[in-house]
């Protein structure tokens, strides 16, 4: 059905042309699910977009052959491509919020491909859309038909995307990281949905992901890409069980898989470093000139826990459960809070999720690192410089980085800089808010190892906020589970993973694929 041969994609920059995809080959049969895995920048999305005919930038040169149903797509006219797009080839993207038009009703967007490719009346369009919505398990389809994307949850939005891509019953569905932006429980549901669609409609799926475990559970064959090349391909089990290439081995090795990397330093009789007693927190919403900020729903509801010196505690929960808010509350970043927070050491520091957005792009790394000391005011320029150099050394970067700007750094290096920044005031406790979820698996592993090293060598306690139970398992000795603003369960790693009491904890563990 699909036969891609020797595909090259080159970006013609004004300075140096860069080939982003080399010798890409793929053959897909009707009803087959093939996965493409690779880290960011490996060219996997590029290849998929090229197949879907969506790489039309003028500065891109494409060579090779893309045969779809025996027809050459690479040299096909725009008008011919448009006939295929949305009709024979459907595509879903990573971020369902930004991939949907915010000012159009979801029903309208689901119908769109049908409106373009078939000649149907408005009533026929609507009934087709509602039937499709029901098929992808969108509850209350008649009502939600008139909703706008921002009124739906992330999982529902991705279902809308899937419904819109499937409405013309395409032969091929390209899914570009469709579950990456979703919570684990939702992820599992979307994967199930894709499996069912593939089974019932015999739709072939080209599934692109950086998440190897998801690919393994869904696909029959897999292609591994690195730096624009396919390094290995074959049936999933074969590739995963007996990887031939070094790169694939590293990739598989780096997948978090409920294995302890290291235990935290012994903390049996150590002193407490943080006590959180009955803390509630909420955000104020400014409603008008004359009314004071209305009382909002509590985002964190009477949370209590303690942390000891040198302990690594995991705070897990799905998006919107209040875990980040709790972290911010501990740091005193919110105004409207109740309860008591006792710090037994100097103020903790925070590391944020997105290392791309957290560093001021116009300043050098040195300037950024020295900033907390500059604000503090008690340090001489030389002390500041020495401290910045020392902290960079601790996170594994040398002095030369001090004069660089964030743009020149990779994601992993940036996150190291963020960690160094958190260390500048020599805190005894670091709050790490999803510090690895924006990073590739191999880089994730390096950052986790760095955090463990800081914990062991400097005895820094870490409150590790994450949605990923596998990562949490790797380094945390105690776990706190949050749901809807409440702490539903807390205990040692062994208690939480092997003897969960709360049904929600059990559900999280089963979605994450944990088996005792």
């Amino acid at each position: 059905m699909l036969d891609v041969n020797d595909l090259h994609i080159e970006i013609e920059d004004s300075i140096i042309p860069e080939t982003v995809v080399h010798d890409f080959d793929i053959i897909m049969h009707p009803g087959e699910i093939v996965g493409i895995v690779g880290e960011s920048g490996s060219g996997k999305s590029m290849s998929a977009l090229a197949i879907a005919g969506l790489l039309s930038r003028k500065d891109m040169k494409k060579k090779g052959r893309i045969l779809f149903e025996g027809e050459e797509l690479l040299t096909a006219s725009r008008s011919r491509l448009r006939e295929i797009q949305g009709d024979d080839i459907g595509i879903i993207f990573q971020e369902p919020m930004t991939s949907l038009n915010p000012v159009k009703k979801v029903g309208w967007q689901i119908e769109e491909a049908l409106r373009i490719h078939r000649n149907l009346s408005d009533d026929e369009l609507k009934s087709a859309a509602i039937a499709m919505m029901k098929d992808v398990e969108i509850p209350d389809a008649e009502r939600l038909y008139n909703y706008y994307p921002h009124e739906l949850s992330g999982g529902l939005r991705q279902r809308v995307m899937i419904a819109a891509a499937l409405i013309c019953d395409p032969k091929l569905l390209i899914a570009d990281e469709p579950t990456t932006a979703l919570d684990v429980t939702i992820q599992a549901q979307i994967i199930e949905l894709l499996k069912r669609i593939n089974h019932e409609r015999n739709t072939a799926i080209l599934f692109i992901s950086h998440d190897l475990s998801v690919v393994r559970s869904l696909c029959s064959r897999v292609l591994v890409m690195n730096k624009g090349r396919i390094v290995e391909s074959g049936p999933v089990d074969e590739v995963f069980e007996h990887p031939g290439e070094e790169y694939t081995k590293n990739l598989i090795h780096a997948i978090p898989k409920f294995q302890k990397i290291a235990t935290a330093i012994d903390n049996h009789d150590s002193k407490p470093i943080l006590e959180v007693k009955n803390v509630s927190a909420r955000y104020k919403k400014i409603t008008g000139y004359f009314q004071p900020g209305k009382k909002q729903r509590d985002v964190v509801k009477s949370a209590s826990f303690t942390m000891n010196e040198g302990e690594i505690v995991g705070l897990v929960g799905e998006s919107g459960c209040g875990k980040t808010t709790l972290g911010k509350t501990i740091l005193g970043m919110l105004d409207d809070t109740d309860g008591e927070i006792v710090h037994y050491s100097n103020m903790p520091q925070m590391i944020f999720q997105d290392p791309y957005g957290s560093l001021n792009p116009s300043k050098t790394i040195g300037w950024i690192l020295e900033e907390p000391l500059r604000i503090n005011g008690k340090y001489t320029p030389n002390e500041r410089y020495e401290r910045a150099k020392k902290m960079l050394g601790l996170v594994g970067l040398d002095e030369s980085y001090l004069s660089r700007k964030p743009k020149a750094l990779s994601g992993g290096q940036r996150q190291r800089v963020c960690i160094a920044l958190a260390l500048m005031l020599e805190p005894r406790l670091i709050i790490a808010d999803e510090p690895v979820s924006a990073l590739d698996v191999t880089v994730q592993e390096q950052v986790i190892n760095l955090l463990i090293k800081l914990n062991r060598e400097l005895g820094i306690a870490i409150l590790f906020i994450s949605h990923d139970l596998k990562v949490v398992y790797e380094l945390c000795s105690r776990i706190i589970v949050m749901k809807d603003g409440r702490i539903v369960e807390q205990g040692t790693d062994d208690e939480i993973y092997n003897d969960p009491k709360d049904p929600y904890t059990k559900q999280l563990l089963s979605s994450a694929g944990y088996a005792k």
């Binding site: 969506l54 006939e83 797009q85 949305g86 930004t98 915010p102 891509a165």
Partner: protein, 314 residues
């Protein structure tokens, strides 16, 4: 419903504050209506008598609230200078200023939306730079100067209209419009250039967003992606700008009326300030303030229609 009540309260408070400021301003500047009418050589007794007669000796707030009270019932008082009712004076001039404003605004929209879409579509063609440069040039010229240029080029050189001439709307509506056309050009061009640039930038940044790729993936043509997807999103920031522009045009037309000798609110306002003719000045400013607030109200409502994210949750 709650938002509407809030808007009405804002409306009333703004009108109160604006008119109060005008009252205070007249208190502070030297000279009053009595001196303006009798001249600087009048005897103090004559002045006192006239002040008594005009009610100027009453305390400030009494005067303000009695004016306000009658204003809301449509009675704007009697002009000190002309001795006729302010309402009748303004009623005959309102259509002139409103028409000028409206023509200018329609020009802004009619010029900026097509050119904005066009210049974003062919953004990478070299010729499109000319539009950018022309826009930049127009933007930097103040309207009154543009008015002088327009008068010179279209009036004196091309003889398309008679500079300084004017035909009232009740005499010949067609001619009336043709005399307003060129002043409107002078008002509209700089605003249109700004709005074009804003729309272009907005379209260019919208086009990079993910939903545009999704729209292409469903087989939309470039035209359809622009008109069915991008434009409705890109227009949202432009609407805010157009609202502010409309308010600005109302104020800007006062200056242009002076340049083109159009007997609208602008000329009346300037002569009335010189004559200390409070009732006329008060009424004009209150009406302009009300027009501006109503425009803002319309923009807010438009905003909610265009952007579902601004609406109240269901």
């Amino acid at each position: 419903m709650k938002t509407i009540i809030k808007k009405i309260i804002t409306f009333i408070v703004t009108v109160l504050l604006v008119t109060l400021f005008v009252f205070i301003a007249f208190e502070l500047i030297p000279g009053d209506a009595a001196t303006a009418r009798l001249g600087i050589n009048a005897t103090p007794e004559a002045l006192m008598a006239l002040r008594e007669e005009m009610g100027l000796t009453r305390p400030f707030f009494i005067r303000y609230f009695s004016w306000l009270g009658s204003f809301f019932f449509g009675d704007m008082g009697i002009s000190y200078s002309y001795g006729v009712s302010v309402r009748s004076m303004l009623a005959s001039k309102l259509p002139i200023t409103l028409t000028l404003t409206l023509i200018s605004f329609i020009m802004v929209v009619a010029i900026s939306i097509p050119i904005g879409v066009f210049s974003s579509k062919y953004e990478d063609r070299p010729g499109i730079k000319i539009i950018d440069v022309a826009g930049q040039l127009t933007m930097s010229v103040p309207p009154f100067f543009l008015g002088i240029i327009v008068t010179y080029v279209f009036g004196m050189l091309l003889h398309l209209f008679v500079p300084g001439g004017f035909v009232s709307y009740d005499v010949d509506f067609g001619k009336f419009l043709s005399y307003l056309f060129f002043p409107a050009v002078a008002i509209a061009l700089p605003k249109a250039a700004m709005s074009t640039k804003l729309l272009k930038t907005s379209i260019l940044s919208e086009r990079k967003l993910d939903y545009v790729r999704t729209a292409f993936s469903r087989g939309n043509s470039t035209m359809d992606v622009m008109y069915k997807h991008v434009l409705k999103n890109a227009i949202i920031p432009v609407i805010t700008f157009l609202g502010m522009t409309l308010a600005d045009i109302v104020a800007g037309s006062l200056v242009i009326e002076q340049v083109f000798s159009i007997p609208g609110y602008g000329r009346l306002l300037i002569s009335s300030i010189a004559n200390r003719d409070y009732p006329v000045v008060q009424a004009i400013i209150a009406i302009i303030a009300m027009i501006v607030i109503v425009i803002n109200l319309i923009v807010d409502i438009l905003y909610q229609i265009l952007d579902p994210r601004m609406r109240e949750g269901r």
